[in-house]
Symmetry: C2
Subunit: 343 residues, 2 copies
DNA sequence: TAGGTTAACGTAAGCGCTTACGTAAGTGCT
DNA sequence: AGCACTTACGTAAGCGCTTACGTTAACCTA
C-alpha cells in the first residue's frame, strides 16, 4: 500500500485517537475542557504519526502564527547580517520565523513587500537605505500604506523619508564624529569616498562630515557601497588628490577596499595616510591596521526595530534615534607632515 | 466609518468588479476562459484596492507556493552567511522566499525543522555541521524522515551521517591541503586548534590533517568554533607548546581570533609562527597578514544544495562532493629556525 | 431549425484548521 | 426527585482561496 506523500492532518489524528477533530485540536493546543486522559492520548497519537499542524490552515482559521519579514540590501554585507542577527534574536523569543529577502532598488523592494504581504507576515522590517529622491520611494510608500491599512506592522531602519516608524542610527552624528576626530588629529586635506549619492544614509553621513569639517579642504567622490567601491575609490583619490592625508570611507566595507588597495600599493596606514570607516562591523577590529570607525550597533538596532514594530500602532509616527560612538583604532594618526603628498 | 483593518479578499475584488469569485481568481491568475475586457477590469479593481492574494489560503487550496527553509548554525558567522547568500540566489530565481532559522544543537534543530514543516516549506536546507555521535542525530533524522515521507525535500551541507541528499565540501581534503602546505614549507611542530570534537566537520578536517601530517609533531586542542575560540586556543598553544612553528585553526573565524591574540602579544606572523585557516571566507584576504586558507566556496555550495533539493527525489541518496583549493597568502612561511621557540 | 459545440461565466466543494455553539452526561443542592 | 450548573465532548460554520463541474447564451453545421 503506497500512501500519497501527504502530511497527516488533524482529522487523521482525531480518527486514530477516536475523538472528534475539535477535541483533537483542543488537546494539541492545550485548551481547557479536555480530560487529561484524552488529551494525553491525542498527543501521543499525534506524536506517533509525525503530525505537524499546518501553519497555513491555522493562520487561515484565525490563529495568530504571524512571522516577520526582513528586507535587506545585500545578504552578504556584514552591515545587514548584523541587523538580521538582531531581528532574528527578538523573533526567536516568540517563536516567530524571519523571512529574509533582499532588494537593492525600489522596484524589487515593492515586489518583496508584496511577497511578504501575500505570506501575511505580521511585521516587515525595512533595512535598506532609503532614497533621497522621494519620487522613487512613492511606490514603496503606497505598498507599505496598504500593508499598514490592513493591520500590518512596519519598522524601518535608517529611513526617515518614509512615513513609517523607524529606528534611526545617527548617521549625521557618525559623520560628524569622524570629522572631529580627523580635525583633532590635525588633518586638513581629506578625501571622502561616499556611497551612491541617492541613498539617504550617504547623504546624512556626508552632511555630518562636511558640516563639521569646515575649513578643511575636502573632496568627495561617489562609488558603490562595497569593497570594490572602496578599491576604485582609493585609486581615484590617489590619482586625483594625492595630497590627501586622510581617506574617509562612508562605510566599513568600503574602508576594507581602501585598505586593500593602499596595501597593494605599499602605502602605509596610518603613517602615509589615515583611513576611517563607519558602522563598526565585527571585522573592523581585525583588519590591519585595525579600523578607526564609528559604532552604530547594528545588531541592537535590528532588535530595536522589531521591538518597535511589535508595539501597538500609535497615532503618530515613532522614530527612535540611536547613539553612535567613535571607535579609535590604529588606522588613523596625525598627518606625518602637512606638506607631504602621498607620493 | 472605520473599516476593520483587514486586507481585502478576493471576494471583495470580485464584488466590486461585478463578477464571481471564480472569474476574479481566473483573471488574476491569467487562466484562460475569461474575456480580456473582464479580466482587465478585475485586475484594475484589484490593483486599486491594494489586493494581495493570501498565500496561506492559496497554498491551502492547492496552489503551490512553497518556500524554502534554511537552518544555519549562527547567523553572524560568515561561513553561514555565504551559504545563505547562495541559497537565496537560487530561491529568488523562482520567486521563492527563504526562511532562515538558526539552531546550534540537535534539540533546537528538531524544533526548527518542525516550525518549517508547520509552515509547509517545500524544501529544507540543513547547513550546520552534523554530530559525530549518531545518537544525538536520531531525533533530527526522525523529524526529517517524517518531512520526506510527506513529500518534503531536504538537502544537507557537510553532513554525511544523515540519511538525506547532501553537498559535501571535501573537509578531509581541506585538512590534507593544509598539512601538505605546511609540510612543504618545512614545519614539523604544528599546533592544531580544532572546533568542538563532536562536530563532523571538525572530525573530517582533523582526519585529513593528521593523516597527511604524518611524522610531524602535532598537538590538537579543542575550542569553540568562533573568534573567541581562536583567542583562547592561541593562548593555550603559547602556554603549552610554545615551540610550535605553525598554528592551524580549523576555521577562518577561529584563525581571526588567533591572529588577534598573536598581534596582541607582539608575535609576528608568519615570521615567528605561521597561521592557517579553512573556509576562505571573504575577509580572509583582508586580514593582516592575509590568511592562508582553503577555499570551500560556500556560496556555490549553498546554491548547489538548493538545486539538489529541487530535483526529483531519487531512490538512492545523492551526495555531491565539491572540490577545495588551497589559497596561499601571507600568513604562512617556512619556519624561521627549527630550533627557535615562540619566545 | 434542431442538435451539437464552444466560450464565458457562476456554483459549490473542498484545502486543514479554530471556535462558537449545541448536547449529553455527571455533580451538587434543596 | 427535580433543578440548575458544570464538564467533556461533538457539530458545523467559517478563514480565503482554487478548481471541477454546471449553466447559460451565442455560434456552427447539416
Amino acid at each position: 500500500m503506497t500512501r500519497a506523500p501527504r502530511p497527516p492532518r488533524l482529522l487523521d489524528v482525531a480518527d486514530r485517537a477516536g475523538v472528534s477533530i475539535a477535541t483533537a485540536s483542543r488537546s494539541l493546543n492545550g485548551v481547557a475542557g479536555v480530560s487529561p486522559a484524552v488529551a494525553d492520548r491525542v498527543r501521543q497519537v499525534a506524536e506517533s504519526m509525525g503530525f505537524v499542524p499546518n501553519a497555513h490552515a491555522r493562520s487561515l482559521a484565525g490563529g495568530q502564527e504571524s512571522s516577520v519579514g526582513l528586507i535587506v540590501g545585500e545578504i552578504g554585507d556584514p552591515y545587514f547580517t548584523e541587523i538580521a542577527s538582531g531581528v532574528i534574536g527578538i523573533a526567536a523569543e516568540s517563536d516567530r520565523l524571519v523571512q529574509i529577502c533582499h532588494a537593492e532598488d525600489p522596484e524589487t523592494l515593492v515586489a518583496q513587500v508584496r511577497l511578504l504581504r501575500a505570506n501575511r507576515v505580521g511585521a516587515i522590517i525595512l533595512a535598506g537605505s532609503g532614497m533621497v529622491d522621494p519620487v522613487r520611494e512613492a511606490a514603496v510608500e503606497a505598498e507599505l500604506a496598504s500593508f499598514l491599512a490592513s493591520g500590518g506592522r512596519v519598522a524601518a531602519i535608517g529611513r526617515h523619508s518614509l512615513a513609517v516608524d523607524a529606528v534611526l542610527p545617527d548617521n549625521v552624528g557618525a559623520g560628524r564624529a569622524v570629522a572631529e576626530h580627523l580635525l583633532a588629529l590635525g588633518h586638513s586635506q581629506v578625501a571622502v569616498l561616499a556611497g551612491p549619492a541617492e541613498l539617504n544614509t550617504v547623504a546624512d553621513r556626508l552632511d555630518g562630515l562636511l558640516g563639521a569639517l569646515g575649513s578643511a579642504r575636502v573632496t568627495v567622490t561617489h562609488h558603490p557601497f562595497s569593497r570594490e567601491g572602496g578599491v576604485s575609490g582609493a585609486r581615484a583619490v590617489l590619482d586625483a588628490t594625492p595630497d590627501a592625508t586622510a581617506i574617509v570611507a562612508l562605510s566599513d566595507v568600503m574602508a576594507i577596499g581602501v585598505l586593500a588597495e593602499l596595501r597593494e600599493r605599499g602605502i602605509r596606514v596610518p603613517q602615509d595616510v589615515s583611513v576611517t570607516g563607519i558602522d563598526d562591523i565585527a571585522v573592523a577590529a581585525e583588519l590591519s591596521p585595525a579600523l578607526t570607525t564609528v559604532r552604530l550597533s547594528m545588531t541592537e538596532i535590528g532588535a530595536a526595530a522589531l521591538v518597535l514594530a511589535d508595539q501597538e500602532p500609535a497615532a503618530t509616527l515613532r522614530s527612535e534615534a540611536t547613539a553612535v560612538e567613535l571607535v579609535v583604532r590604529s588606522s588613523t594618526a596625525a598627518p606625518r607632515n602637512p606638506a607631504t603628498t602621498l607620493r
